[in-house]
């Protein structure tokens, strides 16, 4: 059997890889996010660590009083973690917006956990209580109806927001 050089072996494996797993271009952002989630990798933490490495490289340019290459500057801008101090108004606004969005997202999750998806049924034990007038019952029924509507409205908003 012909003994292959390491380069030939690599090329053959790469060819098999492309035929079996596709070309790298096929790995889209959505698929990437899902894949990283599945291995338990926090994408923000990943980006922050990559940022730190690029930042360390950028320091060499700053020390030498050289301009940063355009791509390195863009990479630092893109990967700059939210925890880093804002450098200007726009960055402050971006960080504030993201923080608020996260809080809203968390509160939505909390609300959806508190408000069940199934239709609501109230325990109407008051109906059998003695000594209640018809007017009392009507008042309690009205409160119950209002509550139902309020919760349905909240659920509706929540669904639209998702």
């Amino acid at each position: 059997m012909k003994r292959r050089t390491p380069e030939e072996t690599r090329n053959r494996i790469n060819r098999l890889s492309e035929a079996l797993f596709g070309v790298p271009e096929e790995v889209g952002e959505e698929e990437a996010e899902q894949a990283l989630r599945e291995v338990g990798l926090d994408t923000e933490a990943l980006q922050e660590r990559v940022y730190q490495r690029l930042y360390a490289e950028a320091q060499q340019y700053w020390k030498a009083q050289k301009d940063l290459p355009t791509l390195l500057k863009k990479a630092l801008d893109d990967l700059r973690p939210l925890s880093a101090p804002p450098r200007n108004e726009a960055e402050l606004a971006r960080q504030a917006k993201t923080s608020v969005e996260r809080i809203v997202e968390k509160s939505k999750l909390l609300a959806s956990a508190l408000v069940p998806d199934a239709p609501l049924t109230f325990a109407e034990s008051y109906r059998n209580k003695q000594g209640m007038t018809e007017a009392d019952r009507k008042s309690i029924d009205a409160v119950q109806e209002q509550l139902k509507k309020k919760i349905e409205r909240l659920k509706g908003k929540d669904d639209k927001g998702q």
Binding site: R15, P24, A32, R53, L54
Partner: protein
């Protein structure tokens, strides 16, 4: 600059490169986010950061003729990973001493070799990691009981079909379906390596 003359989105690029890096790691039996190339301590993240840094500082140039930016950076990263695996296997071959214990020699006060001098049975043999036959065997093992994925693997490994159209013709399906199967296979590969690495951790604890 990207293929369209615009600056790329590094957030998206880092995620996609990392996901692809995990696929390459899994192809060579390295599973999970904490996996490293044996003996080097280099993780998929290290390789991602390296190519991004080389691109950002101009050491890797993106030329349209070589494909999209993702293709150029992923190819560079894949080559780096394979080089690291291969260098490690060479190093091991060069430094691997022959361990012999002469059980018959009597009266001599010789020391037995320490346990860690013997190769670990659970660790993958680095010299076989970048070997085509081993590669084929690993891929087959991933799709043992999944007919649609198994069909794809057999079409590539046994019938030597490489283009999606050719594979689709042989399997009586569409090229789009083949692309979907490839996507599933990428996922299955990473999942199987993740399970494998978790089992290995459990055994070593």
């Amino acid at each position: 600059m990207s293929e369209h003359g615009q600056l790329p989105d590094f957030k998206s690029l880092s995620k996609r490169l990392m996901a692809y890096g995990l696929v390459v790691f899994a192809e060579f039996s390295l599973g999970g986010e904490d996996a490293v190339v044996p003996g080097t301590g280099l993780s998929a993240e290290d390789f991602v950061a390296k190519v991004l840094l080389e691109y950002a500082t101009g050491k890797i140039k993106h030329q349209k003729s070589r494909g999209s930016l993702m293709t150029v950076l992923s190819t560079a990263m894949r080559n780096d990973i394979i080089d690291a695996l291969r260098k490690k296997s060479h190093k091991l071959e060069e430094t691997r001493a022959t361990i012999t214990v002469d059980e018959d020699s009597e009266g001599e006060d010789h020391e037995k070799p320490a346990l860690d001098q013997f190769p670990q049975s659970l660790a993958p043999d680095p010299s076989s990691v970048v070997d085509e036959d081993e590669y084929r065997a690993r891929v087959r093992a991933v799709v043992d009981n999944e007919p649609p994925l198994k069909d794809l693997v057999e079409a590539v490994l046994d019938l030597e079909l490489y283009k999606p159209e050719d594979i689709a013709d042989a399997l009586g399906t569409s090229a789009a379906d083949i692309q979907n199967r490839k996507k599933k296979l990428r996922r299955r590969l990473c999942q199987s390596e993740l399970v494998h690495s978790t089992e290995e951790e459990g055994r070593t604890l």
